[in-house]
């Protein structure tokens, strides 16, 4: 039968172990460099943006709205970084700050949302007092008036200090243009996993999950998504014979969510009897004490907790 003959003919057509190791190293390198874009629609996630500004030690100006909710928030990071022309911070740097402060933002977002109606009420009250304040103080920029016209005033303020950050729409447009360029690159295989509706569920939890964060010119806001626990680093894999390693990789069945059911640092250490000392020598600078302890003397829960799984 042709099928059997074809199978026999292709039996010996396979990549060399050296090639696999090379590709593996290349992938690890790429994974370490990889920073999937974190997509943020400023208007939709105004609460988060506002909380980020608070977390960064800045000020937040809430825009009043007819339904009592928060429509938009302009995050001003002037307290932590000056937007003065002689010490200006680029839009990208500002957004990087937001990325770094994102975990705090996540926690603070509900509070910001809850605080919004109160802010609206305060704004309304201030609005009522404003005429009186104007008369008494005869100051054109009385606080109530400023609050009432937050949109114009704050936009102007930010515009004066940081021309590239005139309003959230501009930021949003910039982010969307980056998204467009990314989706063009992956046009054939794009998917919906970063749909806005899934944003909080799909992306936000991972901000805490993975070690390290970074941003560069290619992605406005980004995080690394590879957990060291799930990737056997080349320096560790190099200690094991290629064939044994391949055999181990192929020995796993379906991942049922338990630590023992897939290829990770724990199963690797168990299978190949890697000692704590060897692990420290190979990965000491990349693992915390807590992680090493969890691997060698902790429970599955300890490991999950130590690696943020």
């Amino acid at each position: 039968m042709f099928k059997e003959e074809l199978n026999i003919a292709f039996e010996s057509v396979r990549p060399s172990p050296e090639l696999l190791d090379r590709v593996s190293a290349m992938m690890s390198e790429e994974a370490a460099r990889k920073k999937p874009p974190l997509r943020m629609t400023a208007v939709k996630y105004a609460g988060i943006a506002a909380a980020v500004a608070l977390a960064a030690g800045g000020t937040v100006m809430l825009f009043g709205s007819t339904d009592g909710g928060v429509k938009t928030a302009e995050a001003q990071l002037s307290a932590s970084k000056s937007f003065a022309p002689d010490n200006s911070v680029s839009e990208q740097e500002m957004i990087q700050d937001i990325a770094e402060a994102a975990p705090a933002a996540e926690e603070a977002a509900p509070a910001a949302g809850e605080a919004a109606p109160a802010a609206d009420e305060a704004a309304f009250a201030a609005e009522e007092v404003a005429p009186q304040a104007k008369e008494e103080a005869a100051e054109p920029e009385a606080p109530p008036a400023e609050t009432q016209t937050t949109s114009a005033a704050s936009t102007k303020e930010i515009s004066d200090e940081a021309p590239s950050m005139k309003n959230t729409d501009a930021v949003d447009a910039r982010i969307m243009s980056v998204e467009d360029s990314i989706s063009e690159e992956n046009e054939d295989f794009s998917d919906d996993r970063f749909e806005e509706a899934d944003f909080a569920a799909a992306v936000a939890p991972n901000i805490d999950d993975y070690s390290g964060s970074a941003a560069d010119a290619d992605s406005l806001i980004s995080i690394t998504s590879i957990n060291i626990f799930d990737t056997i680093p080349p320096e560790l894999a190099a200690l094991i014979d290629c064939n044994e390693l391949n055999e181990w990789y192929g020995s796993f069945g379906e991942n049922d969510g338990t630590i023992e059911s897939y290829q990770n640092l724990y199963t690797f250490i168990k299978r190949f009897g890697i000692s704590e000392e060897t692990l420290r020598q190979a990965l000491g600078d990349r693992l915390t004490e807590e992680q090493i302890n969890a691997l060698y003397s902790g429970t599955a829960d300890d490991i999950r907790s130590a690696f943020g799984l």
Binding site: M1, F2, K3, E5, L6, N7, I8, A9, F10, E11, S12, V13, R14, P15, L19, L20, R22, V23, S24, M26, M27, S28, E30, A31, K34, P36, N186, D188, F189, D191, R193, A201, A202, V203, P205, N206, D209, Y210, S225, I226, N227, D230, T231, I232, A237, L245, N246, Y249, G250, F252, N255, G257, Y262, Q263, N264
Partner: protein, 171 residues
């Protein structure tokens, strides 16, 4: 556990080692060159890690990798250099150090016969008989119609019958 976290649980490295054979063999069957297959393997898994896609299941992942491999080999086959290179004969590196292969004339016969087919027939035959893909799956992977795939299968079989005396096809 969310789909996203499931995806991150899957080690990229583990996926590469699991599918490296499949990608390499398909790349070789299309290009007829181990050197090109080496390059294509690297390219495919770089694209894999860069795409960072979420897959519904293993079949989805496998289909995606096969499609990327076909796309990558297309680039190789249409490059200026390769347009002037004859891929009708497999290079001598395959199994050169494999005594079992040397001992088996059948292996070489089948391999040579397959590799002598035009690329589109070769790929279709390979995916159908080696990867056990259906006509519909092949059509999707290589980006053509099911009718085309059926025609290619039929013509490919005819050509192989002429080259391999007594060969029998299951389908």
């Amino acid at each position: 556990m969310t789909e996203l976290s499931l995806r991150t649980r899957e080690s990229f490295d583990a996926v590469m080692r699991k599918y490296a054979d499949m990608v390499y063999k398909l790349a070789y069957s299309r290009t007829g060159s181990t050197f090109d297959a080496d390059d294509i393997l690297q390219e495919v898994f770089l694209r894999y890690i860069r795409a960072d896609k979420t897959y519904n299941d293993e079949e989805h992942r496998k289909a995606w990798l096969l499609r990327i491999t076909v796309n990558c080999t297309k680039s190789y086959l249409t490059s200026a250099w390769n347009r002037h290179t004859d891929y009708n004969e497999p290079d001598g590196n395959i199994g050169a150090d494999d005594p079992a292969l040397k001992a088996s004339e059948t292996k070489n016969d089948v391999m040579n016969a397959l590799m002598s087919l035009p690329e589109k027939y070769r790929t279709t035959i390979y995916l159908f008989y080696y990867e056990d893909m259906t006509v519909a799956q092949i059509a999707k992977t290589v980006g053509t119609s099911e009718t085309n795939v059926k025609t290619r299968l039929s013509r490919g079989r005819e050509m192989l019958k002429q080259k391999l005396e007594g060969v029998e096809f299951d389908v």
